[in-house]
Symmetry: D2
Subunit: 264 residues, 4 copies
Amino acid sequence: MDDQLLIADRPFPSRLVLGTGGFPRMETLAAAVRASGTGMVTVALRRIDPAMRGSLVDTLDDCGVALLPNTAGCFTARDAVLTAQLAREAFETDWIKLEVIGDERTLLPDAPELLLAAEQLVADGFTVLPYTTDDPVLARRLQDVGCAAVMPLGSPIGSGQGILNPYNIALIVEQATVPVVLDAGVGTASDAALAMELGCDAVLCASAISRAHDPVAMARAIRAGVEGGRLARLAGRIPRRTYAQASTPHEGRPELDPDSVPAQ
Amino acid sequence: MDDQLLIADRPFPSRLVLGTGGFPRMETLAAAVRASGTGMVTVALRRIDPAMRGSLVDTLDDCGVALLPNTAGCFTARDAVLTAQLAREAFETDWIKLEVIGDERTLLPDAPELLLAAEQLVADGFTVLPYTTDDPVLARRLQDVGCAAVMPLGSPIGSGQGILNPYNIALIVEQATVPVVLDAGVGTASDAALAMELGCDAVLCASAISRAHDPVAMARAIRAGVEGGRLARLAGRIPRRTYAQASTPHEGRPELDPDSVPAQ
Amino acid sequence: MDDQLLIADRPFPSRLVLGTGGFPRMETLAAAVRASGTGMVTVALRRIDPAMRGSLVDTLDDCGVALLPNTAGCFTARDAVLTAQLAREAFETDWIKLEVIGDERTLLPDAPELLLAAEQLVADGFTVLPYTTDDPVLARRLQDVGCAAVMPLGSPIGSGQGILNPYNIALIVEQATVPVVLDAGVGTASDAALAMELGCDAVLCASAISRAHDPVAMARAIRAGVEGGRLARLAGRIPRRTYAQASTPHEGRPELDPDSVPAQ
Amino acid sequence: MDDQLLIADRPFPSRLVLGTGGFPRMETLAAAVRASGTGMVTVALRRIDPAMRGSLVDTLDDCGVALLPNTAGCFTARDAVLTAQLAREAFETDWIKLEVIGDERTLLPDAPELLLAAEQLVADGFTVLPYTTDDPVLARRLQDVGCAAVMPLGSPIGSGQGILNPYNIALIVEQATVPVVLDAGVGTASDAALAMELGCDAVLCASAISRAHDPVAMARAIRAGVEGGRLARLAGRIPRRTYAQASTPHEGRPELDPDSVPAQ
């Protein structure tokens, strides 16, 4: 396939990453994962009851998707690094979605702690995908310290507010040398499409799917949004114009190009 | 299929309608029509050189799509009614996309003339699909006089500005007893998805596809946008929240539902 | 004064027009009118208990403001014309704010009925100021039939949603040959400022002031917003840029103009 | 005055702070400072030709405003701290507007370096007002290390894009224990009014005034915007509603309150 997502040289069959939290039951999770077409899902070390970890991992293994452990619930670099190390053992992967939260109510990242943790985990051999604010300078610094991707938020986790500042996302994309994964805030298919049109390489969705009225249908919806947005980005959209442009403005005039199509 | 678009009791295989103007050549039009999956395309009586009408109609016939003639270029009710009657003969259909333009530069509709023309054409046996402003009262009056659908604009024709006033589109949908087709302004896949999420029944695209850098790829993109937006509308999106909601907020607490999935 | 509002050649001391409905008591209305600096207020013939009309008119007379009767509550051209005629007698003025409503829930105007009523009232010698949608074509037609101003809405009456479609307001201004008064939707000072920056000649506010927690303070707030927006329009704002522009980018370079100010 | 801005217990006569860069000539700067009513202006140590510093300082002294030196042009904490120390000597004040820039093209702040510099300057006895991103967590950390105010951006310096993410500004205000000064991005009066309505305590403007076509008129415009926005915040605006609310909905019903005003 000639438009494949690569993160740290690893190919993925889909530009949609799924979070596994919030699903009402395991069967729904499995069905949504399959409907989404995703190749990678996040799992939270902290939030999994060890007694249930097996059944979750088994379910996801059955789906044939890669696991990306995260450090959800960590509020300091130190805590995140420790959690990442435990996750490496528990899930047998050195890939980590790095979250260092700075506020309980908004779950927004803590920029300085995030950068610190990212540096330490890169040095410790991890493949680090940090959940970050939409700050273009921070995103560049994360990529400069060796992160394998940057994952800026559209709006707070679970808020469904979409992309509050598309300008910042576009700036992040413009300067990125690693994949940009829009993470957090997506509420529906058009949000996912917009992220891809802005140039993001992938989208991560959790609550938008798991808490939708019909999670499996929403997984298909957002999959289509991601695919449509990606196609549109590659297809080259028309510019925005202040005034109208008739689709065929040459009414009554002779056609210069015999193959041009004189109709709307 | 259980989610099929019906207009005037006629089923359509797709919720995307294509305009045929602006394509660089006939082959591209045909390929885009096929890629879009559409079942109906608009054609402009006025703008077609009669000598070429045959080749356009043949091409579209080969694609197996229904033709929807429009009254593009008409500035009065009288002119639009006459054009519709000519189109009925030329294309052998009593379906008409009614356009009565009020301004050359923006190609915005003229509300009073539009309503007048719609009344006359309905009385004359036409199946009338009017291109209208995003005014909810006008949309309701058009449906009240017997139009088979209403086609509010998102922004001016060919402007690619998307949906400037989603609130009005939502009001139109809320009160509609006929299908609502978002017409004009769509620039890219996310615009089409948003239209469907607002509750529109279909989307009409012309320039966004025909003038894209790669029209066939954009036809696929917008098709995915329409499908994603429709699925999302049916799936029931999460509400927008002011603050974050962790995808798994019950960390450390006993699970009430043994099947609920304790992970992100 | 060299930047005075003229409507139908009549000068006004302020670019803010006040609605008189919704005030908790007559004293508050009087205080808000004075704080606003307005020279004209609207009054609803229908809604005034005839027994109280005297006290309202007396209060407003004491404030020294012109009365602009409106046709609030009318749903047809016929009803609006009749109400205007009654208002002319009751208030002894041939100025009328024309409202023809098309929907009870949104109080949005009915475009065709509005145009019809406007034509009839102009023919009957009224100075007509129509409350209209934000449709640029309708606004032009209203001015073409002889209205003395056009009063497009920002959003529904009392909704406080501000200006939902600034693009349409800018189009209306661009082609206007009569004053444009933004009417309905203003919720706060920045909405009023934006209306003026878009080029409106004045702003009409009712609920934003009368239903604010402190109506008199809000009258002052919106007055400042109108004045600030007008000044900004005339001052010539900087263009929007994609990237930053340092306020003093010529650091370290010799000054070409000895009077230029080398500091931020 | 009972609504006075206090920063570090120091009262200011105005909620508008002015940048001094970009003015075409010294006389215009002086006139704009006076028209703005400001009590404090920023000056850039680096950008001032020492030979001209005297004339700038004299001009501003004549205007009776306090000087707030900034560290414009610094890209590391180390450089910013050094520049602040030089500024303290040059301008004889320990107040400093701290800028640590992370990107030349957007002039966006570098979050980790900014926090580091802030800590050091607070420890060194400075009254620190940091120019920061609109990240609520970073803003809280800056206040936690002892900054006297936080100055989040609306959009990049000189871009005139206004407030790209009002949600973040509202979050910053919600949790602030020090004054919040909206800094950067304001293009016109309505932007300044919106900042104040979101709850900011003051606004800093530079290019919006100095580069306007008429800087003195724009100083008055933005002054009015700030005042209007502040008044509106205190007055308590009406809520946004989905549907209309007639300013007098009790038409025809008996008045419960004899003083309520039965008119629009």
